[in-house]
């Protein structure tokens, strides 16, 4: 395994990068190799509680050269100090950073099967991190340099035409799906259960003819959606891969199981008690993703927060609309255990109606085309209600990529991989949600 490694070589793929390679050079190399510039090529290994020394021993036994932060005074060790070591262990947080080359030589991969007695809890790809919030001139300059490099190495696109515009025409998908990079994704949410708690679902809608739908009503009316809202949100999160005729693709997780919980009546009203009953059912059903495009302009409710905690404990992630009052986030989205979603216009500017404050992530919410109750079958409407199922659908795709992406892990992954936007976190959270590759 005595391969010669070039120090700080930005023109080679990042497998050859050593731990000391600076982030800017890593980013240039990641973009140059044709990637989307989100992953550094390294692996982040998380050890089970108390198992980091077993993990350290294991790395050494496998012949890796390991740098231990404990060898430095007050553990003030940076990756630059690791030089050309294969791995750097951070014992306080039970994590090891492993170079791409060393990781691959150990057979590491995000889908690696871990044995029950392994000291390793999870292996995840390392992602680039960018500052968000108000960008200063330096960051703007950096961002435009990165974009320039990406354009230079990306597929040829006519000047003046955004890459996304080309995709929308070619791929026949809604602007929202294009912006969330759903079309290029290889995932469809297979094996993941997604609950939509809303006005129900038009169960006989032709676009859902061969889908498995498990449904329950909590409002004393049949599940059949006579409002339209529930069908629209279900469509965005879970709509078909290829709608009939020239209808553009409008749905994300076409392979996921649909759980319809009718918690709002056909006139769009409900109460907290009914919504909680729906949440209880969705969590008992172990739905990995629970989408709630509803709420009220009221303070944090203990019951919602408790439910959110129960969800996360059981490997479920609840995403809820921030609200449309151009005011502070309403309930249930304002609970700390529930992911709050803000709405974006086509220009990726926060929609003028979108609530702000406690916002974790943002998604398309203006003029969103999706399914509607028959006879109309389709409709285009706006709201944080439309943004929320974009996040739910993408969450299902991410959950499919890795069995450890559940609950809080899934929440963090969605934020870590969101596309950064030049707006404060109070408006867009971590940015525009993105589907996995």
């Amino acid at each position: 395994m005595a391969s010669k490694r070039k120090k700080n070589a930005p023109n080679s793929a990042n497998d050859a990068a050593i731990l000391a390679t600076d982030p800017d050079a890593l980013l240039q190399a990641a973009l140059a190799s044709g990637g989307d510039g989100t992953q550094t090529g390294r692996y982040i290994v998380s050890y089970r509680e108390g198992a980091v020394d077993d993990g350290l021993k294991s790395l050494k036994t496998q012949g890796l050269r390991v740098c231990d932060a404990r060898d430095f005074a007050t553990q003030a060790a940076s990756l630059q100090d690791a030089g050309d070591a294969d791995a750097m262990v951070l014992p306080e947080i039970g994590v090891a950073v492993v170079t791409g080359a060393a990781g691959k030589s150990q057979g590491m991969g995000v889908t690696t099967e871990l044995e029950a007695d392994s000291p390793i809890e999870a292996i995840e790809p390392d992602y680039f991190m960018f500052a968000y919030g108000d960008a200063n001139e330096y960051l703007r300059g950096f961002a435009s340099a990165v974009n320039a490099i990406a354009r230079e190495f990306g597929p040829g696109v006519a000047p003046g035409l955004e890459e996304e515009d080309v995709e929308a025409e070619v791929l026949g998908a809604t602007w929202g799906l294009v912006r969330c990079r759903v079309s290029p994704s290889l995932r469809n949410g297979l094996g993941i259960k997604v609950a939509v708690l809303d006005t129900g679902m038009d169960l006989g809608h032709p676009d859902f003819a061969n889908r498995v739908i498990t449904s329950k009503t909590f409002v004393g009316q049949p599940v059949s959606d006579l409002h339209g809202h529930g069908t629209h949100c279900t469509g965005t999160a879970l709509g078909p891969k290829a709608p009939p005729g020239s209808t553009p693709r409008y749905g994300i997780a076409w392979g996921s199981r649909i759980f319809t919980g009718k918690v709002l009546t056909n006139t769009g009203s409900g109460t907290m008690a009914g919504v909680l009953a729906g949440m209880n059912w969705a969590i008992a059903s172990r739905c990995e993703v629970i989408s709630m495009s509803l709420g009220a302009q009221i303070p944090v409710q203990v019951a919602y927060t408790n439910s959110g905690a129960a969800a996360l404990r059981n490997g479920c992630l609840i995403v809820a609309a921030a609200g449309n009052a151009a005011s502070s986030t309403g309930a249930p989205a304002n609970s700390p255990t529930i992911m709050s979603v803000a709405a974006l216009d086509k220009t990726l500017v926060p929609s003028n109606f979108s609530n702000f404050g406690k916002v974790e992530i943002a998604a398309p919410g203006r003029d969103v085309f999706s399914s509607w109750k028959r006879p109309a079958r389709y409709n285009t409407i706006s709201g944080t209600s439309m943004a929320t199922p974009h996040v739910a659908g993408c969450a299902a795709l991410w959950a499919q990529t890795n069995a450890t992406l559940r609950g809080m892990n899934l929440w963090r992954r969605l934020q870590a991989t969101a596309r950064r936007l030049p707006f404060p976190a109070s408006k867009v959270g971590a940015g525009l949600v993105q589907a996995p590759a």
Partner: protein, 78 residues
Amino acid sequence: MTKSTRWILTVAYDRPIEQIVADAAKAGLRDVQVMAEIGCITGTAPTVAVARLRRVRGVVDVAPDSPIDIGPPDADVT
């Protein structure tokens, strides 16, 4: 005639929920719905009963049920 409101009780997990339900019923809670997965109980009771419900062992919070409205199908923004 005392007005009956629907209440949302959030409960702790360290006491069997059936016992909390039984005590809440004794304190005046009716039409009880139990949501064990999320640690919630809902039911109706006159407002004067709330103080008693709050004192039931295992009850963490009592809040009035509140309405949600996403508007009619042709609402501008939803």
